[in-house]
């Protein structure tokens, strides 16, 4: 796997683990419920053009589990502090799934340091009658099959034999996700009414066969956020960065380059 640096920053007495690679304009990648197991090819390819910063959210992955993380709001305030403390400006903020929800909560509070916002299969709102799938009630096999359009990818994921450390992190991420998103399931009822505050170029990317958060949500976000562009990725499930890496990279970099600010 290509290179990134790994480090930990201190925040309110706890450690936040982050991976960072590449150079250029900062691109802050906020991971989804499953976390970031490694510096995967999609991060590496983004780092060809940007200074990619990919933290493990506090309570996830290799980050500590501080008591102050109770709601997605808490992570939004954390990332606003993080951006300020790291001196980041003109940030391309990319959030996937749960990370998309966090990105939205950041952006409705302040877009001061953002150049653009990219949402990939984002959680955070609810369309009545179109719930997201219940990640928690699925067993491992059901989850793998729901995540990908391609059965072969699901098989590949199921065939992996994670180490004990990796299993611990999977479990930790599941608990961390439940803490934030068990009730209401994967959304904040108050978020929708503030989405009009988002005043940076916004790009909504969705797999056209997403079985976790239905593709209808792409159009819903597109309508709620003024001027948002929507890109549907064909033959793709909930994780375009994994399932359709080329199309994902093209979509993200194409949009971010046009809005380099």
């Amino acid at each position: 796997m290509a290179s990134c640096s790994e480090s930990a920053i201190d925040y309110k007495g706890g450690k936040v683990f982050l991976r960072r690679g590449g150079s250029g304009q900062p691109l802050l990648f906020l991971h989804g419920a499953g976390g970031i197991p490694a510096w995967l090819p999609y991060l590496d390819r983004l780092s060809d053009r940007y200074d990619v910063i990919a933290p493990d959210h506090p309570t996830f992955g290799q980050s500590d589990e501080p008591g102050w993380v109770e709601k997605v709001d808490d992570l939004a305030y954390f990332y606003l502090d993080f951006i300020k403390e790291q001196g980041l400006e003109n940030v391309h903020l990319v959030g996937q799934s749960l990370g998309g929800w966090i990105a939205l909560e950041i952006a409705v509070r302040s877009t001061h340091s953002l150049a653009s916002l990219t949402l990939v299969g984002a959680a955070g709102i609810r369309i009545k009658g179109r719930p997201a799938a219940d990640l928690f009630i699925m067993d491992d096999e059901e989850l793998a099959r729901a995540l990908f359009k391609s059965d072969a990818l699901a098989e590949q994921m199921l065939a992996m034999e994670p180490t004990e450390e990796q299993q611990d992190i999977v479990l930790k991420n599941k608990v961390a996700t439940a803490r934030l998103a068990w009730q209401p399931r994967l959304f904040n009822p108050a978020l929708r009414k503030w989405l009009h505050r988002i005043d940076v170029p916004t790009h909504v990317i969705w797999g056209d066969s997403d079985r976790i958060i239905p593709p209808d949500y792409a159009g819903e976000f597109g309508g709620l956020i003024e001027g948002a562009e929507v890109t549907m990725i064909e033959d793709c499930g909930h994780l375009p960065n994994i399932e359709r890496t080329d199309a994902f990279i093209d979509a993200v970099t194409g949009f971010c380059d046009r809005h380099a600010a």
Binding site: F136, I137, M138, D139, D168, L171, K172, K174, V175, T177, A178, R179, W182, Q183, P184
Partner: protein
């Protein structure tokens, strides 16, 4: 020994063909299978069975709480205890238990329990439980904060029962400007609190604390686990808290079936006990242990042992493990006395109806147990217990 009859009140008419198409009888098992007319008859039959136990001299009768399932039709055990409070005179009414912290407003349960305690003239036993994992799906409660909410709800209700109000309760999860519960409980300082559990060292350490000394009840477990957890309670009191636990602080709950011979008991109970475990109780691992319900190390332990409540138990295996007690009056009596000699618990809770056991067999079971088994158990005290010193020495 105090003997309590416990009832789960299952929906015994569950459509087994429909059940076979679902992973469990819980949470998402469709309530179209509940026929209100059949349900009405069942509720009244089950209440009759508990009232019969009260007449026959049981020390207590007991109900509990489960939501959105066919395993136990008592989302509010308070309703059942209220019905029983006016139809019984001397026996204890044990709610084993109520999950206070599943509610946004646990104070409402503190009020209702105080009402039952007053109506019954101080016969209430309050079972204080967190709720099994399945409830967190049904009541949309977050499992990751369940433990701290449970402890905080306890502090709220005990203060509401023991301190005169009004006072403000300023917790992390619960906030009340005016805590001033009317009525106050009949029993002072408050009704006894029991802690039923499927086996949790955290619960034991909490219940055994010298400020609480609550009764710990081990439910549905192989006798080996019953021994481990009850002895852990005594050991915790001895080593951690520096006092000697009384046998009144310990109890055990088990399904019991008595018939005139061992063979007949097994033949009559088999189908219905197996239905209890394999059809009504069986739960997928994910539903039984939602994320954060257990701490990391406990979760890993249960996952390793695949201790989901699996659906493939046989009566013979459960008898061998000592999860259930089935046999002639002699067999059942000797078994319970033997277990008491080993562990010295002062409370035995008998589940005398289970699964699909029909009314005639249930009534016969209650009567036989009351006539042939219970009289030998009730007089037994610590003199029959071999003593914790000997357990500790081993």
């Amino acid at each position: 020994m105090k003997i309590t009859m416990f009832h789960l009140m299952p929906y015994a008419h569950m459509d087994m063909a429909l059940r076979a198409r679902h992973k469990s009888a819980w949470v998402t098992y469709p309530n179209s299978d509940f026929d209100p007319k059949k349900g009405a008859a069942l509720y009244n039959r089950y209440l009759d069975e508990l009232e019969l136990a009260a007449e026959l001299g049981f020390d207590g009768i007991s109900v509990n709480e489960h939501h959105q399932n066919a395993y136990g039709l008592m989302p509010s055990p308070v309703v059942m205890a209220a019905a029983l409070s006016r139809r019984t005179e001397n026996c204890k009414l044990a709610i084993l238990g109520n999950a206070f912290a599943l509610r946004e407003h646990p104070l409402t349960l503190a009020e209702e329990h105080a009402m039952i305690d007053c109506i019954s003239g101080g016969r209430l036993i309050t079972g204080f439980v967190r709720g099994i994992g399945a409830e967190f799906w049904s009541l949309a409660a977050n499992p990751t904060t369940s433990h701290e909410r449970h402890v905080e709800a306890h502090d709220l209700i005990v203060r509401a029962w023991t301190e005169t109000g009004p006072f403000a309760f300023e917790g992390k999860h619960f906030h009340f400007e005016y805590v001033n519960v009317w009525p106050r409980p009949y029993q002072q300082p408050h009704p006894p609190i029991w802690c039923p559990s499927l086996g949790s060292t955290e619960t034991i350490e909490w219940a055994a604390h010298p400020d609480r000394r609550y009764v710990y009840l081990q439910n549905y477990s192989p006798f080996e686990s019953v021994s481990r957890f009850l002895n852990f309670y005594r050991e915790t009191c001895e080593k951690t808290y520096g006092y000697t636990a009384s046998s009144e602080q310990l109890g055990w709950t088990a399904p019991v079936y008595v018939a005139d011979t061992d063979e007949r008991a097994v033949a009559q109970a088999k189908e219905h006990i197996e239905a209890l475990f394999n059809k009504f109780l069986a739960l997928p691992f994910e539903v039984l242990f939602p994320p954060g319900y257990l701490g990391m190390s406990s979760y890993k332990r249960v996952r390793q042992h695949k201790r989901s409540i699996a659906g493939d138990q046989t009566l013979e295996k459960m008898m061998e493990l000592g999860i259930v007690i089935v046999g002639s009056p002699d067999t059942v009596r000797e078994r319970i006395l033997h277990c008491h000699r080993e562990l010295g618990f002062s409370n035995f809770i008998a589940l005398l109806h289970f699964g699909t056991l029909p009314a005639d067999l249930t009534e016969r079971n209650i009567r036989l147990f009351a006539r042939e088994v219970m009289p030998a158990l009730q007089p037994v005290g610590d003199e029959a217990y071999r003593g914790f010193e000997r357990v500790a020495a081993e």
